[in-house]
C-alpha cells in the first residue's frame, strides 16, 4: 500500500503529468468556450431574422432572374450568338419559388445537447486518450531511462509487483482526471445548451445512454494508457511508446489505407483502427462499399454495407491491451536490469 501511495505521489509530482493534463483540459475548455461563443439560443426573434434573410435572398434571386431574362431577350432580338449561355426560350429563366429558400438555413448555430453530446464525447475521449498515452508512457519510460526504476527495485525487489503498482497508480490518477473532467465537460455543455441552445428531449433513457458512452470513453482512455505504459516499459524508454504510436499511425493506418485502396479491397475502413474507436464510442459504425450493387425492391442499386460493432472493438482493444501488458510483464520478469 505504501508503494501504491508513493507511486501516486510520484505521478502527481511529475511536471510532465501536470503539464500534459493541464494542456488536455485546456483544449477541452477551449472546445466548450468555442461552442459557447459560436452558438446562440433560437427564439421568435431569430426565426423572424432568418425569415427576413430568406426573403432578401429570394428577392436577390428574383432580381437576378429578371436581369438574366432581359439579357437573354436582348441577345435574341439582336441576333447575338450567346454560346449556350441562355436557354432557347428566355421565359425559362425564372427565380426559385420562395418556399425553396428555407428560413432554417439562416438561423444561427444553436447547441442541441441531446444531438451534440455523443459526437463531442468522441472529441473528449480522443483528447484524454492522447494525454493518457503520453503520460502513461512517460511515467514508466522516464523511470527506466533515468535509473529511477533500478533505484526503486533496490528498495522493493519484486519486479512485477512494482510494475503493476505503478500501473495501478497511473490508472487511478487517470480515472480521477477523466471522471472529474467528464463531469465538468458535461456541466459546461449543459450550461452552453441552456444559455446558447436547447436541452429538450432529455429523458432518463437518454441520460443513461450518455452515461454508458462516458463509461466506454473512460475504458478507452484507460486502455490507451495501458498500451502506452506497456510499450514504454518494454522499450524501457518513453520514446519506444511514442515511436510505436507513430509507426502504427504511419504504417498501420496511412500505409494500410493507401495499399488496400489501391488493391481495391472492399471496406478499407474495416482495417483501420479509428473505425473501431468510433464503433466503440457509437456502438456501431456502418461502412458502405460504393463499388457494389445490392438491389432494392424498386430495382435501384444500393451500396453493400458492413457493420463494425462495439463488441468487435472490445475484442480488438482487449487483445491489444493483454498482448502489450503481458509482454511488458514478461520482459520485467525475465530481462536483466543494467
Amino acid at each position: 500500500m505504501s508503494l501504491y501511495r508513493t507511486e501516486l505521489r510520484r505521478l502527481v509530482k511529475r511536471r510532465f503529468t501536470r503539464y500534459m493534463t493541464l494542456l488536455g483540459l485546456l483544449v477541452l475548455a477551449l472546445v466548450v468556450a468555442g461552442l459557447f461563443a459560436t452558438n446562440e439560443k433560437v427564439g421568435p426573434e431569430q426565426w423572424a431574422a432568418a425569415e427576413r434573410q430568406a426573403d432578401r435572398q429570394h428577392q436577390e434571386q428574383v432580381r437576378w432572374a429578371e436581369r438574366e431574362r432581359a439579357g437573354c431577350e436582348r441577345d435574341r432580338a439582336a441576333g447575338v450568338t450567346d454560346d449556350g449561355r441562355y436557354p432557347t426560350d428566355c421565359a425559362e429563366i425564372v427565380p426559385p419559388p420562395r418556399d425553396q429558400i428555407e428560413a432554417e438555413w439562416f438561423l444561427p448555430a444553436t447547441f442541441d445537447f441531446r444531438q451534440g453530446f455523443e459526437d463531442l464525447a468522441l472529441a473528449f475521449t480522443a483528447v484524454l486518450a492522447l494525454v493518457a498515452f503520453v503520460v502513461g508512457a512517460s511515467f514508466v519510460g522516464a523511470e527506466w531511462s533515468t535509473g529511477g526504476m533500478m533505484n526503486l527495485l533496490l528498495w522493493r525487489p519484486r519486479r512485477v509487483t512494482v510494475l503493476l503498482t505503478k500501473l495501478a497508480a497511473l490508472l487511478t490518477g487517470l480515472i480521477a482526471v477523466t471522471v472529474s473532467a467528464g463531469a465538468l465537460w458535461t456541466a459546461g455543455l449543459w450550461l452552453t445548451a441552456v444559455l446558447r441552445g436547447s436541452t429538450e428531449r432529455m429523458t432518463p433513457g437518454v441520460w443513461e445512454s450518455f452515461a454508458l458512452t462516458g463509461l466506454r470513453g473512460l475504458a478507452l482512455v484507460l486502455a490507451v494508457a495501458v498500451v502506452g505504459f506497456g510499450l514504454a516499459s518494454l522499450g524501457r524508454h518513453t520514446a519506444m511508446a511514442l515511436g510505436g504510436a507513430i509507426a502504427l499511425a504511419v504504417v498501420g493506418q496511412f500505409g494500410v489505407g493507401i495499399l488496400f485502396s489501391m488493391a481495391n479491397v472492399a471496406f478499407v475502413e474495416r482495417w483501420l483502427m479509428p473505425t473501431y474507436a468510433l464503433a466503440w464510442m457509437q456502438q456501431k459504425v456502418t461502412l458502405q462499399e460504393w463499388r457494389s450493387c445490392v438491389s432494392d425492391f424498386s430495382g435501384q442499386c444500393q451500396p453493400a454495407t458492413y457493420d463494425v460493432t462495439w463488441g468487435q472493438s472490445a475484442v480488438l482493444f482487449g487483445a491489444g491491451v493483454v498482448l502489450v501488458l503481458g509482454a511488458a510483464i514478461w520482459a520485467m520478469r525475465r530481462r536483466d536490469i543494467s
Partner: protein, 336 residues
C-alpha cells in the same frame, strides 16, 4: 566471524549471436565479514558491477550461490532488501525532482520514517541544497545523494560502487571518514573503488577480481604480505661505481637490475649482506632501502594490468586466476 555476504561459484554468461559468448563471472567467490569495510577491486570489465547487480537481483545469474545476512538471494531479497543499502555504478535520479523529493519518495516506498531523510541529507552534506532539482547538481553532489539514498534504510550491509567518483578531495576525505564511522557503528560496508590508496587506507579486507574470478582475498595486510617482494634499492656515493657494484653483486649470485642512478636487487633476504659485499670491494652505499609494496602494485601485478610502454591494453586484457600472463593466451572477452 559471521559472514554478512557470501558468494560461491557465481557465474554469469552473456551470449550474443554476433559477438559470441562472454563469461562475465566465471565461478566467482567472495566473503565479507560483519562489521568490516571490505574493498572490492578489479579492472574495468572484470565483473565487479555484474557481481553487485546479480547480488541485488538486477541481473539473473547462471549458477552459483549467494547469501546476504544468512539468507539465500535472490529468493530472499524481498526479506533482506530492507537491510541492504546500495548504490550501483553512477548515481541516477529523476532530474526534475529535488533531492528531498527523491529521498522522500524512496523513504515512503520503503516505509522509512520521514525524519530519516533529513538525517541522511545532513550526513552527506546536502542539507542546504536539498530543495534544488537534481539536474542542477554536480556529479559529486549526485554521488552524495546516492550515498544518502543507500543510507536511508540505516542498513546492516552498505554496498557502495565507486562512491568517491566525482567527489572533490574534501569530499573523498569526508567519504572515508563516513565509511569508517559507519563501520564502527556496526555497519558492514562493501566498497568498490579504483582509488586503491583509499581502499588501502580504509578497508579491513579486500577481494580482487579479474576476468570474472577472484584472484586475491583476505585482510589487506595479509594480501600485501603475500605479494611483498624482497627487493632492495641500492644507491652508491659515486654513480660511476654502479657498473662495478652490479658486477660484484651479480658474481655473488644476486639478481641485479641497473638503473642510471641506482640498482634494484631482487630476492634479498638480508640487506646487510649487500652492504658488506660492496664494502669488501671498496664501494660505499649511500642508500640501501627495502622496496615497500602497496595495494596498487599488488593489484597491477595480480590483474596484469600494469601499463606497458608502447602497448595499448584493451579492457578485457587482464589476468585469469592461476597467474597466467596476458589474455591473448588465457582467453576471455567476447568470443572466448
Amino acid at each position: 566471524m559471521t559472514a554478512v555476504l557470501e558468494i560461491a561459484g557465481l557465474r554469469k554468461t552473456y551470449r550474443s549471436r554476433r559477438r559470441g559468448t562472454r563469461n562475465a563471472l566465471d565461478g566467482f567467490d567472495m566473503r565479507v565479514e560483519a562489521g568490516q569495510v571490505h574493498g572490492f577491486l578489479g579492472p574495468n570489465g572484470s565483473g565487479k558491477t555484474t557481481t553487485l547487480r546479480t547480488l541485488l537481483g538486477l541481473i539473473r545469474s547462471d549458477g552459483g550461490r549467494m547469501a546476504i545476512l544468512g539468507h539465500e538471494v535472490p529468493a530472499a531479497l524481498p526479506t533482506v532488501a530492507r537491510q541492504v543499502g546500495a548504490i550501483v555504478e553512477s548515481p541516477q535520479f529523476f532530474p526534475h525532482f529535488t533531492a528531498r523529493d527523491t529521498l522522500s519518495l524512496l523513504a515512503s516506498a520503503g516505509e522509512v520514517p520521514r525524519q530519516r531523510v533529513d538525517e541522511v541529507l545532513e550526513l552527506v552534506g546536502l542539507r542546504d541544497r536539498a530543495g534544488e532539482r537534481v539536474k542542477t547538481y554536480s556529479l559529486g553532489m549526485k554521488q552524495r545523494l546516492a550515498v544518502a539514498s543507500a543510507l536511508l534504510k540505516n542498513p546492516k550491509l552498505l554496498i557502495l560502487d565507486e562512491p568517491a567518483n566525482g567527489l572533490d578531495p574534501g569530499g573523498i576525505r569526508e567519504m572515508r571518514t563516513l565509511t569508517r564511522t559507519l563501520a564502527e557503528s556496526g555497519m558492514t560496508v562493501l566498497l568498490s573503488s579504483h582509488i586503491l590508496g583509499e581502499i588501502q587506507l580504509i578497508c579491513d579486507s579486500v577481494t580482487i577480481i579479474s576476468l570474472g574470478r577472484r584472484v586475491a582475498f583476505g585482510p589487506v595486510g595479509q594480501v600485501l604480505a603475500q605479494h611483498a617482494s624482497s627487493a632492495v634499492r641500492v644507491r652508491l656515493e659515486a654513480v660511476t661505481d654502479l657498473p662495478a657494484a652490479a658486477d660484484a653483486l651479480t658474481r655473488a649470485g644476486l639478481q641485479v637490475t641497473p638503473y642510471p642512478d641506482h640498482l634494484m636487487l631482487a630476492d634479498v633476504d638480508k640487506p646487510a649482506v649487500v652492504s658488506r659485499l660492496l664494502a669488501e670491494h671498496g664501494l660505499y652505499v649511500s642508500e640501501l632501502a627495502p622496496v615497500a609494496v602497496d595495494l596498487e602494485s599488488v593489484f597491477l601485478e595480480l590483474t596484469a594490468t600494469a601499463p606497458v610502454p608502447g602497448q595499448h591494453r584493451q579492457v578485457d586484457e587482464s589476468a585469469r586466476v592461476g597467474g597466467a600472463a596476458r589474455p591473448e593466451t588465457t582467453g576471455g572477452g567476447w568470443g572466448a
